[in-house]
């Protein structure tokens, strides 16, 4: 039976780079996938593109490509990535320049475009899923609308001979499903195969999160050598069989436990994991350790794909102002509480217009609120944190300033003030009839055959 090995070279945009080089060098992989696009990244990238039409793609594109391209070219490893963000065509042109500068001008580079569906979303004024209303209510605060594309256009690019495929918004598992569809010729209505392939993609998409990252909890869950964590490899057979493993000698570990945790990561109803290509069913999945750092995952299934594509809509939401200050030693908790009371009153007295405010003590109740943390012991040190939502930057700045003035006007021994004020680009979702999106593959000119 034919088998391919797919490496996962990044689980988010800022992820470590050496593990991907290690995969290319020692992983015996045929495909290297970089998942680098967070929920709001496209909206932020779109803002950059509006200022400079040749920007809007992942800022680490060049560094990652320079690190892996020589190895990938030498070993014929195909790269699939969503580092195109808001501008896959410009990202592909940049990849072409990088390849040429490395003496690799024969590499064929394709961009998948067409995830930008701002125009049809506006035209049909689609309803927002997370709250009441339609996208017209964002008015000129609307920044971007990008559909989660499926595996098809990426597989098509690979079929046409691409060595590097760069997309914008695509479903994360689809980045991995595309090489499977390409290599095995799976039909796009073979729902069970696509469902099991989606299990593979879902397990691999967060890179280190299945090899021991986001997992260690000593002494119950120990993970060796997290500083040199190895990234995962999926061994996929043409029948959909799957083994998760990693490069021998790298840090971390692939176990039944790491695979189970990642299987359910960001999943709601496990029997209906909605994807552009399939409604995947994880509910009958089985996980079995078959060797050191080798876990077989089977039983993924699927049913008909949804008729509509999920679209991530980016918009300017509000501004957030924040300030922090620390207290330590005997009575730190009481002084921290006093500081919070002072700032609360100051924000009222000075009329800071905030629609939402948080007053909390880091080290005491900042993560889960005062009810959940009510029984905790008194800490040696506390850090006061006040954060508030405003509708302009000037008001947001005033929040941090009121924390800062605690230096000379607040309780004894306050130190280490930090303050910030920023605008908030948020995302919401709409569902777009899939015929309104038309993804296309564009090869970058300049490859010398």
């Amino acid at each position: 039976m034919r088998t391919i090995r797919i490496g996962s070279g990044a689980g988010y945009s800022g992820d470590r780079i050496e593990p991907a080089v290690e995969l290319a060098e020692k992983g015996e992989i045929q495909y290297l996938v970089f998942e680098c696009l967070g929920e709001r990244t496209v909206a932020l990238a779109q803002q950059a593109r509006m200022k400079n039409p040749e920007s809007g793609y992942d800022p680490l594109l060049e560094e990652r490509m320079r690190a892996v391209l020589p190895l990938c070219a030498a070993k014929n490893i195909k790269i699939v990535t969503n580092m195109g963000a808001a501008n896959p065509a410009a990202a592909a042109r940049m990849a072409r320049e990088i390849a040429s500068s490395l003496g690799l001008s024969s590499l064929r580079i394709a961009a998948v475009v067409g995830d930008d569906v701002l125009a049809p979303c506006k035209q049909h004024d689609l309803p927002i899923l997370e709250f009441d209303g339609t996208i017209s209510q964002f008015g000129n605060r609307l920044l971007s609308a990008n559909a989660y594309l499926g595996a098809e256009p990426m597989a098509e690019a690979l079929d046409a001979g691409a060595d590097i495929v760069i997309t914008g918004r695509a479903s994360d598992p689809a980045l991995f499903l595309a090489p499977m569809v390409h290599a095995f010729g799976w039909a796009m209505d073979d729902w069970n195969r696509l469902g099991q392939g989606t299990v593979a993609g879902h397990l691999l998409e967060c890179a280190g999160q299945i090899t021991g990252g986001y997992f260690a909890d000593p002494p119950y869950k120990n993970v060796a050598d997290l500083a040199r964590l190895g990234f995962p490899i999926g061994e996929v057979g043409e029948d959909g069989s799957l083994v998760i493993t990693k490069v021998a000698g790298s840090g971390g570990g692939v176990t039944a436990q790491t695979c189970k945790e990642q299987l359910l990561y960001e999943v709601h109803d496990p029997a209906r994991y909605l994807q552009p290509d399939v409604t995947a069913d994880f509910s009958q999945v089985r996980v079995e350790e078959i060797g050191k750092d080798r876990v077989r995952v089977s039983g993924g299934r699927g049913t008909t794909r949804p008729s509509r594509l999920k679209v991530s809509v980016g918009y300017l939401d509000s501004f957030i102002g924040e300030g922090q200050i620390s207290y330590a030693g005997p009575g730190a908790l009481a002084r921290g509480k006093l500081a919070l009371e002072i700032v609360r009153e100051r924000l009222k007295l000075t009329g800071v217009a905030a629609s939402e405010l948080r007053f909390e003590l880091i080290g005491v109740d900042s993560l889960h609120g005062s009810q959940v943390s009510a029984h905790a012991n008194e800490p040696y040190e506390v850090r006061v944190r006040v954060a508030g939502r405003t509708d302009n930057l000037r008001e947001a700045i005033r929040i941090g300033n009121e924390v800062e003035t605690l230096y000379t006007n607040g309780p004894a021994g306050g130190g280490g003030v930090f303050k910030s004020a920023r605008d908030v680009v948020a995302v919401a979702s709409v569902l777009l009839p899939r015929e309104l999106a038309s993804p296309q593959v564009e090869f970058v000119a300049g490859a010398t055959q």
Partner: protein, 105 residues
């Protein structure tokens, strides 16, 4: 005993919804999870954090439960005022849940 003794857990986020898996280390403890780690207990454990409903999905093949908690992330990951906007730290808190050991376990 604490839930931490018999299960491990991971939190994920989508918009304003948080999901937490609870996975038995040993399949023999799955019935304890089924019996004692209910949606109602999870909702009450996260009083002040989770404002919406808590749904529970059962995965007997991997001895796991998946809790999906609505309106749990301060208005959504991308706009929350919270220090841990993703709610990544919620799973560790849930493992503090008290579990009554079963007679035959």
């Amino acid at each position: 005993m604490k839930l931490r003794e018999i299960a491990h857990s991971r939190t994920g986020d989508k918009g304003n919804t948080s999901n937490i898996s609870v996975i038995a280390y040993d399949e023999k403890h799955y019935p304890l999870l089924l019996e004692q780690v209910t949606s109602a207990r999870v909702k009450s454990h996260f009083a002040g954090v989770v404002e919406g409903e808590v749904a529970r999905y059962e995965l007997p093949n991997i001895s796991a439960l998946n809790f999906v908690m609505g309106r749990a992330l301060g208005g959504g990951v991308t706009r929350s005022l919270a220090l841990d906007a993703h709610g990544k730290s919620l799973s560790s808190s849930l493992l503090d849940l008290e579990i009554e050991p079963g007679g035959n376990l």
